[in-house]
């Protein structure tokens, strides 16, 4: 029995939106190499919408599939809508992730939120839902796999 769902395999084999946005409006980096997964998300914002989302990922099959799925889920959404994407909703869209992969590899939503926070900080604006994400995004990256 393969360890990953067909959906995970599809996103792993054909990752969507891979790359870097040179003039990104926000950048979010999460993960550390001790755990094995690192993700950098880049966003381009236009009229409060995520006009473009790209990422670079160092990690296992799940990490790559998660990044791809998050980029697909986020693209075109408003910033507020994008903040409602959670690790659980990403896993659901991927038709499940192996239990041991859920925490370590499911960093995509966190990286996206961090990119949105970066954008909000640069612009000096408040975005609904961002404050609540504070705890989720902060202080969780070091040595927690």
């Amino acid at each position: 029995m393969p360890i990953y769902s067909e959906k995970v395999m599809d996103h792993f084999m054909k990752p969507r939106n891979v790359g870097e946005i040179k003039d990104a409006d926000g950048i979010g980096e999460v993960g550390n190499p001790v755990c094995g997964d690192m993700m950098t998300f880049y966003i381009k914002v236009k009229d409060n919408h995520l006009e473009d989302v790209k990422y670079q990922t160092f990690g296992c099959g799940a990490a790559i599939a998660v990044s791809s799925m998050v980029s697909e889920m986020a693209k075109g959404k408003t910033l507020e809508e994008a903040l409602t994407i959670t690790p659980a909703s990403v896993a659901t869209e991927l038709e499940g992730l192996p239990k041991q992969k859920f925490h370590c590899s499911n960093l995509g939503a966190q990286a996206l939120h961090k990119a949105i926070r970066d954008y909000a900080t640069k612009k000096g604006i408040k975005i609904q839902g961002l404050e609540e994400k504070g705890e989720e995004d902060e202080g969780k990256e070091e040595n927690v796999c």
Binding site: F12, M13, P15, V18, G19, E20, E29, P33, V34, C35, G36, D37, M38, M39, T40, Y55, Q56, T57, F58, G59, C60, G61, A62, A63, I64, Q100, K101, C104, S105, C145
Partner: protein, 396 residues
Amino acid sequence: MEAERKVYLDYTAAAPLLPEVVDAMLPYLREIYGNPQSIHAWGDQTREAIEGAREQVANLIGGSPDEIIFTSSGSESNNLALKGLAQAQSSKGKHIIVSAIEHFSVLNTARTLEKAGFELTLLPVDNYGLVDPVEVARQIRKDTILVSVMHTNGEVGTIQPLAEIAKKVKEAGIVFHTDAVASAGHVPIDVKGLGVDALSLAGNQFYGPTGSGALWIRTGLRLIPLMDGGIQEGGRRPGTEDVPAIVGIGKAAELAKRDMDSRSQKLSRIRDRLVNGVLTNIDHATLTGHPTKRLPHHASFCIEFIEGEAMLMLLNSQGIAVSSGSACTSRALKASHVLIAMGISHEIAQGSLLFGLGLDTSEDDINYVLEKLPHIVDRLRQMSPLYAKFMKQRGG
């Protein structure tokens, strides 16, 4: 998706039985079924089979047949050796020494003994994974009762200077065990020449059945059994003997000894082709373990900026089976303790890739891997933030 070719290079994880081994075992799964402890013709037949296998396994490592205890696996042999020898000597002292790169069946057994009141020292290794015999001598204390250093590491292939290590341990009058699971059947081993007191091996590592192991233990050495039970294996390993498995490991040992030179020559030649090909065609790839003091059928690498499981999955999509010591491929989600002990950073250890070549491996298989792997590495690097950073730094 159908791959162009199927290339299995994970022989250290599992290997097919040799046809001669299967043929030797089959009668004991069918018509020959007596209990070896029984006093009748049925028992005579299986007893004879077991004693024949004992001789075959003893011959492989230069021991005597009455020094062989059959077990269910390399892990059991290691458990039996460490727990059995430590407990048998516990009145003399409580200090145990093992290397930092041991298999978990040694490392975790030593940690269990530590919890039970023994004291544990882990020996460091150098960048090649070698234990320094001088360091072993330095760590020996008055209350040291047992030292265990593996003959060969299965993850990086490095063969230890075991005779020199054993010499230091024996000079101090301490019992010395070695885990030879990765190497027995592949490289010449002579327990007398090495000067060890106990040695673990497993049949599934040399084309015998999984579920077959043995512990060689020098005559006269006390050993407390792991289980209480009957008189099988001299009371040291009770439980009705698994006759087919024992016959299987015996036959596999006989064939391994007979064909060792030819197998080793063939495999090290194509292994060298793989190593040279990977190091030539892929930038920022390193061979892990010692370049020459290593197993003939083994190649291990770290490929920088990318992660092992992703490589495994893309290789699998091309019909190629290998393994990795990356955190993501381990259920414990920790990078290989072997690579970390060798001073390799977590980041680089994530790109670990292990190739175990086998008797069916051909030069064309290796050519196929060398054709596919560079593209896979390139593809993953193109999406790696670590590679992007490296390229920027290099460019800037």
